[in-house]
């Protein structure tokens, strides 16, 4: 049984069909990448799995249980953690403060009213993503640091499945390489559904790749299979490969 099973998912906005009968799975510990042209519906699909976009039809199972009727926070509590295209975090708190909130969520200790919240245990998660801790408001972090922070928060939540929505977007080449290394270091420990445009990074990281075009999966397989698939080359990769 796969960790994540999406079956025949459908979603439309009025006349616009963004997800057209998509089925895919993510196994424990695998990196399953999702690529496709702009507007293919990749971010929408991520949103349907995380719960921000309710499905019109179809099922999503996580660890065997149906989650498609659950609200966002329940899916997150079950282990589905999402990182966003535009990094989402809590700007008025420090980096450690952000991670501490993720830990509070994981340990279900949010109803403590009296004892001062500490950020000691948050440090190790910041270290694991190579982010320095400081007292500064996290709003002042650079774009790359914000991405690292988001990842640290996701890890602090002890995820079972990471939904990474274009983690390399907006990063310079050095930062990009470091992010790829970081994701590579997490391989095997966490299952990941990775949406990315950077095809080189995808081929380097992914165990499996699915190609989404106009809301439908047109191909799915190993990097070698995808590279040589004529439909994929026509729809997406073009004449580069």
């Amino acid at each position: 049984m796969a960790l994540l099973e999406v079956s025949a998912a459908r979603k439309s906005f009025g006349a616009l069909v963004v997800t057209d009968g998509v089925s895919l799975t993510v196994e424990e510990g695998e990196v399953h990448a999702l690529i496709g042209p702009n507007g293919a519906g990749k971010s929408c699909l991520i949103g349907e799995i995380s719960g921000e976009l309710p499905l019109d039809a179809g099922e999503i199972r996580f660890g065997g249980e149906r989650i498609d009727a659950l609200p966002v926070h329940r899916r997150a509590a079950a282990g589905v953690k999402r990182a966003y295209q535009v990094p989402q975090f809590f700007p008025s708190l420090s980096a450690a403060g952000n991670v501490a909130v993720a830990e509070i969520a994981r340990t279900r200790t949010a109803w403590q009213f009296w004892r001062r919240a500490s950020t000691d245990t948050a440090q190790k998660f910041l270290a694991s993503v190579n982010l320095q801790s400081s007292e500064r408001r996290s709003a002042q972090l650079s774009h790359g640091e914000k991405r690292q922070l988001e990842l640290a928060m996701a890890l602090a939540g002890e995820p079972r499945l990471l939904l990474l929505d274009e983690p390399l977007a907006g990063l310079g080449s050095g930062e990009s390489a470091r992010m790829v290394e970081l994701i590579a270091s997490l391989k095997g420990r966490y299952a990941m559904l990775l949406v990315e445009h950077d095809v080189e990074a995808v081929f380097a990281l992914a165990d499996r790749i699915s190609v989404l075009v106009a809301g439908r999966i047109i191909a799915s397989g190993s990097s070698a299979e995808i590279r040589s698939n004529p439909d994929v080359r026509a729809a997406y990769l073009g004449s580069r490969h």
Binding site: E52, P71, V72, A76
Partner: protein, 296 residues
Amino acid sequence: MRTRLIIVAVLGLIAALVPLLGEPYYTKLAARMAIFALAAVSLDLIVGYAGLVSFGHAAFFGLGCYAAGVLPLFGVQSAFVILPAAVLAAAAVGFVTGAISLRASGLYFIFITLAFAQMVFYIAQGMRPLSGDDGFRLPAPTTLGGLRLTDPNTLLYFMLALLALSTWVSVRITQSRFGQVIQAGRDNPMKLSAIGLSPYPYRLALYTYACALAGLAGAAYANLTEFVAPATMSWVLSGELLFMVILGAVGTLTGAIIGAVVFVGLEQVLSAYTEHWLFPLGVILVLRVLLWPSSK
């Protein structure tokens, strides 16, 4: 942060010394400042920490006022019954209205809190046996042991102690894990859900607590003015409470205390100059908002 704390401590010290002047007018003025400081602190929890603009906070202040005014009609005067009753009344109405209001997004929340407060106001106004629109005299003072809270000195010291205690408790709450979750929910409620926590139950808990504090302040207010009126629930008072919060620094609690002191002081100064002091007050409020952006 430190500066504000020092200012508040100094203000508290001055207030504690005011009775030595032997002028009940000034003692009552200081008590008035302390009462509104407590109300402003409670509103700052909602506005500054949870990031929700409530335009109906006066309703809970007024509920506390009515608790102190109605219970004596049933022969109850002890503060040990009246104060918990004020807290309970404000908290219960706060919980029910909050449970509904918090389901709505930011803008709707403002409108709904305003509407609920108006409803409470109309209910109070409609209680004609209690002399409806204008209100009624406090039937009997709230008693604390052998002391009466209508006595200015007693009221002042009671309020200073209550304010200090409530502010300390509230500060601790904001620094706890619960407080961190609340502030995260203010910054980015979508992200809070995405890491596994729904903002709703925590906001509701904080809202209820804040309403309870406002109820306490209201009960004291009934003893200050020795009068119980629907005007304590008016939307105008709700707006004035918000004004006090932003006069200080939003989201600091001690700032709200300072803001309340400044506001009450401003009211006093302006009303000494003209009977139409609401006009310059309104203008000052507009100017304050235009010239200094608040953090929201």
